[in-house]
Symmetry: C2
Subunit: 152 residues, 2 copies
Amino acid sequence: MNKKVLTAVLALVLGAGYALTAFSQVKPDVLVKQRQAAMTLLGKYFGPLGGMAQGIVPYNADVVTRNAGYLEVLSQMPWDGFQASTANEKSRALPAVYADTVKFKKAGEDMQAAVAKVVSVSKGGDEAATKAAIGPVGKACGGCHDNFRQKQ
Amino acid sequence: MNKKVLTAVLALVLGAGYALTAFSQVKPDVLVKQRQAAMTLLGKYFGPLGGMAQGIVPYNADVVTRNAGYLEVLSQMPWDGFQASTANEKSRALPAVYADTVKFKKAGEDMQAAVAKVVSVSKGGDEAATKAAIGPVGKACGGCHDNFRQKQ
């Protein structure tokens, strides 16, 4: 098969946008969609933990362990989507994302570190300590959103 | 703080849709958005592997290891989004998703098993064997899409 045919096959399976990721620059709109997908899932799996930390949903150690593990992986996924090529795409990312890349990177790393803390503390099985470790994740999310995401 | 205030605080951090996940039934449109996010990221991280298996992007063992690990986690994420409550939401999911739940579940498990195979085989460091293990993941994606996703 030549390259065009292979491209078509891959596009059939994955959709045209994703096939491109395999062998060329990813298009800016796809990058935005992918980074937003990572944020959506970070929200999905952090939501219940935030609720538990605040006592508004019952504490469930199994859910904490599972979600914290998911969050640790997901927290690595958004960042390569914030390439300069995406600066003019429609999204809530503020210009500061592309202008203050050092501070933005630090904000992402702070979130990752806070998530890693929940993963390690939750292994100890101490509910109060785990709840206390969840708070800083929410703060890291919110802090980054305050500086780098447009208010709705 | 009463529950309303806590809800508002969580909504500020996560967005209104996600705050709900913490302590009530997740709304059908949010479930669809979350499952689509998981599919988007499955595509992001499988795309390059599919390209490598077909020889259209250079083989990179580090990328295979990283992406296979991501896929193993992501492959667990879409399924709880296909709840009956979402059957009338706008999406490409075919009625068979909700009608033939046994077959749909099996299709998801086949994909997870194929991904797990790539994870284990890639640890052996054999490029040809790893490429051979990637093919069945693409087939599992495509097979499920054929039966359960509307053609575009």
